[in-house]
Structure formats: structure tokens, C-alpha cells
Assembly symmetry: C2
Homo-oligomer: 221 residues x 2
Amino acid sequence: MAANEYPKPSVTVDIVIFTINDNDLKLLLVKRGVEPFKGKWAIPGGFVKLDESLHEAAKRELAEETGVKDVYLEQLYTFGDPKRDPRGRVITVSYMALVNSEKIKLSPSTDSSDAQWFSLKKLPELAFDHKKISEYALKRLRWKFEYTTVAFSMLPEKFTISQIQSMYEIVFGKEFDKRNFAKKLLSLNILKEQGINKNVSYRPPMLYSLKADIGEIIEII
Amino acid sequence: MAANEYPKPSVTVDIVIFTINDNDLKLLLVKRGVEPFKGKWAIPGGFVKLDESLHEAAKRELAEETGVKDVYLEQLYTFGDPKRDPRGRVITVSYMALVNSEKIKLSPSTDSSDAQWFSLKKLPELAFDHKKISEYALKRLRWKFEYTTVAFSMLPEKFTISQIQSMYEIVFGKEFDKRNFAKKLLSLNILKEQGINKNVSYRPPMLYSLKADIGEIIEII
DNA sequence: ACAAAAGTGTTGAGAGTACACCCATGC
DNA sequence: GCATGGGTGTACTCTCAACACTTTTGT
């Protein structure tokens, strides 16, 4: 039963890259330049190299597309229907990434007609089973927002409470009560005051950062 | 960028099969007959065929090992470290299955020295990264018990409340208050009374079944 | 003084937790 | 009548949801 007795499928990673800008939740799509689905929009991804782990492959593809490293990256689910790629058997391990839109510069090698941010509300038709993958990613994103601190990975180091609340309202598509939101957030005891932001024409808000010992994503369930 | 330009990894499915018997949570392990790790215990699994989906592959391997079909089966996570298999690049999609121990007959082709149930408390050393996989599966199992109705898939059609409570106590390794447990369970409104079990030498318990419209696993979060 | 967003407290409802006694049966 | 597990209610605490007004700044 050696590992090479069987015909082998191809293995890819596909990455649903989320960001928030213009008060909207967006994901990055690339336009396919080759058949199949030539000209259709697709989630960025590519083949896994034999000497890299799945996570490394996802990180590499992400860096190639967006130029960012050190972002939140999480494996979602592996899609392996035999008919999902007309070229042959391709199994894809899907990932989700959360990036801070201010840190992104879309890869200069791909001009902007090839890679674009799309609002979740106005997605074009997607290649392969990428609609299913992006729906799965959105569910997971909401779950993670509800029960962990991933949201902070889409913010700059210092942020205001209303910036956080606004992200939650965008992701869940509904509004939250300001008092209850702040009360809950502060009671978690994960924020540190960072002084006051003076560059606004209204009452200046308190800036916060995550406490030093909250480097990693924690569960707030 | 055809699908076959790259050298390909092998893809397997590995299934963590849980059951409860003798008041203990157990998982099924098979003894490896070939190198590498010959003689070591491993989670059952095998290569994915080119014309079957991942779920079908997991179902097939499960049926080959245990003879059971129609059990709860869920994809967990895909492990793809380049060094996880000394034979070469093997990516494995892990699954978890929950089976009713009364319905199992271990495959007759494998004698009992080759496949055995092990208590989670006394696992032997495992081949490959199977320890990591089984730990991941246990976490997911506990999560699913807490927030969904998967537990019922390990019970016969009619069951008592204390059977359910006993399963939860085994899976979480702690005891629950009998009154609170019954109150919570009955308040979910998913059980139907099925008359009284008379074959006991103490006050006979009420038997329940899942309501007809609760065929699928539901979230009880 | 006005516009804009920041900041803040109380109340009621529901869920979870802790806790102990009587009941129905077989032997 | 005794051993065995079955079945049940109350009180407390905590969390969540609903709800509106004052404060601070720039212009």
C-alpha cells in the first residue's frame, strides 16, 4: 500500500479574503484568464506545492495577491466533489483571511481589472463551487465575530469603540445598542486605554488597544 | 495551468469513530500491518478514489471497518504537513463518526487483534499525526454535544432521559444535576413520550424518541 | 449656538445553577 | 420492606435587551 499506487487528485487552496471598507464587508475576487470559466470571477487560490504545508500554501497565495503577511488566516473546509472542476479531480482546501484594508495593496503584477473587492451584497457569478465556499466563509466569519476576538485583526493598532461596533454591524447586517455594546466589550477586560484622539470635529473618542497579553485570538463565549 | 502540470500529493480520509459502551467513550483503532508504523495503532482510513467525493470515501471506509451505514459523519479538518507521512506527501481529510455500539459488528475480515475499541482515557501510542487528529475530534465532539442534538445518533430509537444524561456525563467527564438536566432537555421540545419501559426492577422510566420533525441534527445553542 | 458623535445607568425578563425528597417497581 | 433508579420545584444569580439624555469638541 505505497502512497503512489493510486491515481492522485490535484490539491489546491482557495482563500476567501475579507476586508471592511466604505462601510461594507468585501471579499477579493480575481478574474480568470484561462479556461475553464475564463473571464469569470473566482476566489484567489492555487496548487499546493509538494514541500509546503497547507497553511503555508494559503499564506503564499494570500501574499501573492494582496502583498500582506501576518494576517488572520484560518482553514475552513475541504471541498472535494469529483465534478467540481471540469478539468479533472481537484480537491480544494478552503481558507478564510481577514485583512485590514489600509494595509493592502493589490499585487502590482495584476492590474485592477484582474482583482477587485466586491461587496458581499453584490457578488458576481462565481467560477467552480466558489459561491458555496464564500457562503461557508461568511457563516464562519459571523460565528468567529460572535465568539472570538478576530474582529480586532481587521483594525489598526489603536481604535475606538464605535469603530468596533461599526464592524460588527456591517458583518451582521444589523444595528446594536451603543450602551449595551460598550458595556459588554469593556466587561471583557481585554482593552487598554490609549489616550484620546484629538483629530475630530466633535467630542474626541477614547482610543483603545488590545491588552498586551491578548495577542492571540481568544474565545469570548 | 492545466490540472496536471504539478506533482500531486496523495489524499486520504481518516475517520475518528466514536461510540459509547461500558460507560466509557471509545474510539476505534486498527493495527497497521505494513510499514511505516507497522504494528502501531492508527485511526481507520484510506485513499480517496478519483470518482468518489470525500464524504463518500469516508462513508466507504467506515462501512468497511464497522459494517454500519447511516451514521452521523462530519468532516473535521485537513492535515497536510509535508512530513506527516514518511512515505511522501499525503494530505488527509479527517472525519468524525458517531455510532451506536449495539449496531456495530467489526468487519469479519479483520480479526479482533486488528481492530479494537479503546477508551479515550487509555489510548496507545498512535501512528502518524493521529494523536493530534483524535484530540481535534474530541474537542469537536464536545462542542457538538453542547450545541446540537448529535448525541441522539448514538442511542437506540427509544431511550430514557438518564441514558442521555449518562452519555453527556461520559463525554464531558463530569456529572450534571439530574433535575436541571431533565428540565433543560424537556424544555427544548424535541422529545416525544413513547410509553413506559417495564423491564426493570425499579420504578420504570418513561421512554422518549425524537419528534418526527427533528430528523436532522439541530442546533440547540 | 449648533452639529456631530461620545459617553453613560437602570430596569425587567429569562436562563442557568444549586439544592433534597418522594415514587414505582421487583424481589 | 428494602433496594434501585425515576421523577419533580423553588430560590438565587447573572446575563441580555430595551431604553434617552448629557458631554465635548470644531466651526
